[in-house]
Subunit: 329 residues, 2 copies
């Protein structure tokens, strides 16, 4: 998950200097600065480029903007079939070079200390924002499209999958050593629709990615919020690891997916509101649930909340580093 | 799920006459009127009393009110341990008699045509509103309580469970022939916390309910939105049936719970945005997934959306009545 963010005062300072969120994302020096802030504060094992999943639809011409307190919006949401059919696969080198520039800069600054993670949104998740015009709770427009015109929705998802594949490939060339696909909204689908409209298009992305670069494996992590019911299917999509939210027991998940994939997760971000003592207990619980052996990347089960005390995030990281060695004998 | 609601013009007319939502709930004649509206329009197999899950915390003195477009709020949310410890088990006869009066009226008006369903919110779900002060996305206050002071949270949940048990018992005496417990927010918990803080307290309610009244079984339906991962545990809580949202395949759910409980569900309410033809296809799909035999109550997987065309709801009900007989040979 994103490591930088509003819970850090140093992030809020850079964000204020940038003026608005899009400038922060589109200015490589600023994106690099906020990417490195959590690493200066905490002994983390990885860095994740600071960006936003909606840069891809923005590059497709939808006009992304942010309204304070309301989340992301598009100036030109997809309102009819013609708008969907007009969309072409994005050329990331031409339209998203600012992300590549940020990755090159961050990679240089990291100087090999920790691996750098790149990411993108899943086609289904991007489609929710593109069709609804912003955040949604019920997804009335997109679900009407799904239930009434599934072939047209597949046309949209295919263009998005190929765009995301090109975008993630560019990220690898620019320095990303691990890739993560965020499917924030796959969990609002029926099991069959999840496979058809979310998972299959994530598999289509993974098929197109370079799985080795400069002689090293480029692992891909797949995360569907609310995907606990479909882990077996997710484990067959070609990814190296699955991200888990907190509604699944990580030990059960490990038994279900076996050795096919590693697991990332899965602390409820709300645990960080608790006292450091209780944070440590919950961290220990997850490490024990996973058990001995490799294949676990400790992480939150979703993004960190803006109101979290940075010292509490620190307590979590400290607990992981203190407790996890006993599971890796 | 609630059958009456804003999607019906006749409901909106009664609601306008009532002035505000609480008056509608608290005036037995008006609650009876809106309860019967869907039955006048559609060939339904059951009636569900029109009320709100938050009548119980209101009766406990929290002061429920509704702000247009913002959902329910409490004048006196639970802000500290003292406020929680001050709460006593509600006396439904004294504080919630308007619900009993509505049930008596509806039961008389129904004159045995269809069974009457009563309902209440789960203790965990009621606690989310009581501690947060209204609707929430992240449940920061309640989860802080859970992670830092679990015993205090259990004190609150126990008082709520005993209050809900008394309330549902009163509903049976007033004419409710089936009871439903709505756990709208149990799905935001970890599996272990779901059992400890939501399911166990629903089981505590069920233990206290009259399971027979006037010589007839009083079936209890348990519904946790997002509960698809824990159906086996839910099936052991003492209920007669489980409600399913649409993120689980009902045929799979049937195999998992076996003969222990009947199943209710599980059409995505957003299917009702689609054309009647596509609605029929989706209804047929669920009936086929469940398969032959008894033990299925067709229903939406959550509440009907206010923007739905009443004719589309009609198309769904017609499809169920046309297609389901072939599965009951």
């Amino acid at each position: 998950m994103r490591q930088a963010g509003r819970y850090l005062p140093e992030y809020r300072a850079t964000r204020a200097r940038a003026g608005d969120f899009m400038t922060l994302c589109q200015t490589p020096e600023l994106a690099c600065e906020v990417t490195l802030q959590p690493l200066a504060r905490y002994p983390l094992d990885g860095a994740i480029v600071f960006s936003d999943i909606l840069t891809v639809p923005d590059a497709m011409g939808l006009g992304l903007y942010f309204v304070e307190g309301e989340g992301p919006k598009f100036q030109h949401p997809l309102r009819d079939a013609a708008a969907i059919r007009r969309l072409g696969v994005v050329d990331p080198e031409a339209r998203l070079d600012y992300v590549a520039a940020a990755l090159r800069l961050i990679r240089r600054e990291l100087a090999g200390r920790v691996p750098l993670i790149g990411f993108a949104g899943s086609p289904w998740t991007l489609a929710t924002y593109m069709v609804e015009g912003g955040s949604s709770r019920e997804f009335a427009r997109l679900k009407t499209l799904l239930y009434d015109q599934p072939a047209l929705l597949e046309t949209l998802l295919a263009v998005l999958a190929d765009s995301v594949a090109a975008y993630l490939t560019m990220q690898v060339r620019a320095g990303a050593q691990v890739l993560m696909i965020f499917d924030t909204w796959g969990g609002v689908l029926t099991p069959a629709d999840y496979r058809r409209f979310s998972l299959d298009f994530m598999a289509r992305i993974i098929e197109q990615l370079p799985r080795e670069y400069e002689g090293r494996r480029v692992p891909v992590i797949l995360f569907t919020k609310g995907g606990g019911q479909w882990l077996e299917a997710m484990a067959d999509a070609g990814a190296d690891a699955l991200g888990l939210d907190w509604t699944v027991n990580i030990g059960e998940a490990r038994r279900r997916v076996g050795e096919r994939v590693a697991l990332q997760g899965n602390l409820d971000p709300a645990v960080l509101y608790a006292s450091p003592e209780h944070i440590r207990e919950r961290v220990a619980g997850i490490l024990e649930d996973f058990g001995a052996g490799s294949g676990h990347v400790f992480n939150l089960g979703h993004g960190i909340h803006p109101q979290v005390d940075p010292d509490h995030a620190g307590a979590m990281i400290q607990a992981v580093q203190a407790i996890s060695p006993r599971f890796h004998v």
